[in-house]
């Protein structure tokens, strides 16, 4: 038997294992890098979406504020209408029967400014609580960038540290015509590094699989969250459509009533009638809430 055949076969096997291990290690490393890159890119687009959502919420808040200001202005007109009707030459009975307004209601309109301020406050608070429900940002895993690869690399070193040097691997002692302990050490290192590379490739491969799953999980969360943001943006848009129709109607009725008050004669029953009707309508508009305390659309208007 050729005394060098054993080591040669072993070296060949270990070299093959090493090549396979290196190939798999490289492939796994590349996969991890790609996964991390995918995660980072998805995070960026998700953050952009979040920023867009926050901007939309701020803009919506501004529109609510505008409606509040408009309502306060309209309240002033309502107070003027109340004063006009108090001056109108109509008997108290006629006031109620013909104009469908009670003296108590007139007094209420005069005092309504305080209620309107409260109303605006409630609406502002409600809009906030409704919209913020979907704004919880995902706590993104920030550790992926540092995970795994270092560990994998560290497992590559020192794998052979505890192995004994086998002189026969050197083909026998120098005295016997072999390579001796020194050559044996080199050979030993070679045959250990090969399988170690292979084993490490399995370890890194496992880690790559786990990272791929973690990335898939986080990306899926962002996909779902982004869909939810899109849905919330649509709800927000709907709420604002409601705000806009109330805003525009309030402005229109307020302007019509203001114009009428500028020309109306308190002694003219038709003028008084129209002022009363418009003032009542404006009062109803000012009392119309959009959202409940929880920020939900009000389904039934009382």
């Amino acid at each position: 038997m050729n005394k060098k055949a054993g080591p040669v076969i072993l070296i060949a096997v270990t070299v093959l294992a090493g090549v396979k291990g290196l190939y798999d290690l490289t492939r796994s490393g590349k996969r991890i890098r790609n996964d991390i890159k995918q995660y980072n890119e998805r995070s960026k687009t998700y953050q952009f979406k979040q920023q867009s959502y926050n901007s939309n919420r701020e803009a919506a808040q501004k529109r609510f504020d505008d409606l509040g200001t408009t309502r306060l202005n309209a309240l002033e007109t309502l107070g003027k209408a109340a004063k006009f009707l108090m001056r109108a030459k109509v008997k108290e009975r006629e006031l109620f029967e013909k104009l469908e307004v009670t003296p108590q209601q007139l007094a209420k309109w005069e005092l309504a400014s305080i209620q309107a301020i409260d109303l605006v406050t409630i609406i502002t608070k409600s809009s906030m609580s409704g919209i913020t429900s979907a704004s919880a940002a995902y706590s993104l895993v920030g550790t992926l960038g540092t995970a795994s690869t270092g560990t994998a690399i560290s497992t590559l070193s020192g794998a052979a540290a505890n192995n004994a040097t086998l002189a026969w691997l050197g083909g026998g002692t120098i005295a016997m015509g072999g390579g001796g302990m020194s050559l044996g050490s080199i050979v030993l290192n070679s045959i250990v590094v090969g399988p170690a590379l292979l084993a490490s490739s399995f370890f890194v491969g496992r880690k790559a699989e786990e990272i791929a799953t973690a990335v898939a999980q986080e990306v899926a969360k962002m996909d779902i969250a982004e869909s939810e943001i899109n849905r919330q943006l649509k709800i927000l848009e709907t709420i604002l459509q409601r705000v806009d129709e109330l805003f525009k109607s309030t402005v229109d009725v307020d302007k019509i009533l203001t114009d009428l008050l500028a020309e109306a004669d308190p002694e003219n029953l038709e003028d008084a009638y129209n002022v009363a009707k418009l003032a009542k309508s404006l009062g109803v508009l000012l009392d119309t809430a959009i959202l409940d305390k929880n920020g939900n659309f009000i389904e039934e208007t009382p």
Binding site: M1, K3, G6, L10, T14, A17, A160, N163, A164, L166, W168, G172, L188, I191, V192, P195, L198, A199, F202, F203, G205, R206, E209, E210, T213, A216, Q217, A220, D223, I224, S227, E228, N230, R231, K234, I235, T238, Q241, R242, E245, L246, K248, S249, D252, V253, I256, L260, E270, N274, K277, L278, S281, V284, L285, T288, F297, I298, E299, E300, T301
Partner: protein, 137 residues
């Protein structure tokens, strides 16, 4: 068999255990099997994640579409009605037609006090019906 060969065989036998430990061939195989297991388990997890994600995204997207379809139509109708009623109100005030003023104001308040959510459930059922036909809201 020469004495050198015999000595070598003895040495090989003596060192076989140490060589086996160095190579840890069994360990490598165990690692490989473990890797295959992990690969399969993680792939199953990823498939489940993707399936769940797809289901949820589809449901949310469907709800968003429903909201969009329903409210866009609803508000367009309301806007059209309000514009006409305000025109009617202005002309009625100019002509001192108190009855029409009444009617126009009642119409305006009717629209504004009518919740835009009305009929949403009806629309939702229609929207999710695979055999749906156009309906008037």
């Amino acid at each position: 068999m020469s004495s050198n060969t015999q000595q070598n065989i003895i040495k090989v036998a003596q060192n076989a255990n140490e060589i086996a430990q160095s190579l840890n061939a069994l360990g490598v195989i165990v690692d490989f099997v473990e890797y295959l297991k992990v690969q399969q388990v993680e792939q199953t997890k990823r498939d489940a994640i993707a399936a769940k994600r797809d289901t949820l995204v589809k449901a949310i997207e469907s709800e968003r579409e429903l909201i969009e379809n329903y409210f866009d139509k609803r508000f367009a109708e309301r806007k059209y009605g309000l514009e006409n009623l305000f025109d009617l109100l202005k002309s009625a005030l100019e002509s001192q037609d108190t009855k029409t003023v009444d009617l126009a104001l009642a119409g305006i308040l009717g629209i504004l006090q009518d919740s835009p959510l009305k009929d949403l459930e009806k629309f939702r059922i229609w929207f999710h019906d695979p055999n749906r036909e156009d309906i008037e809201l």
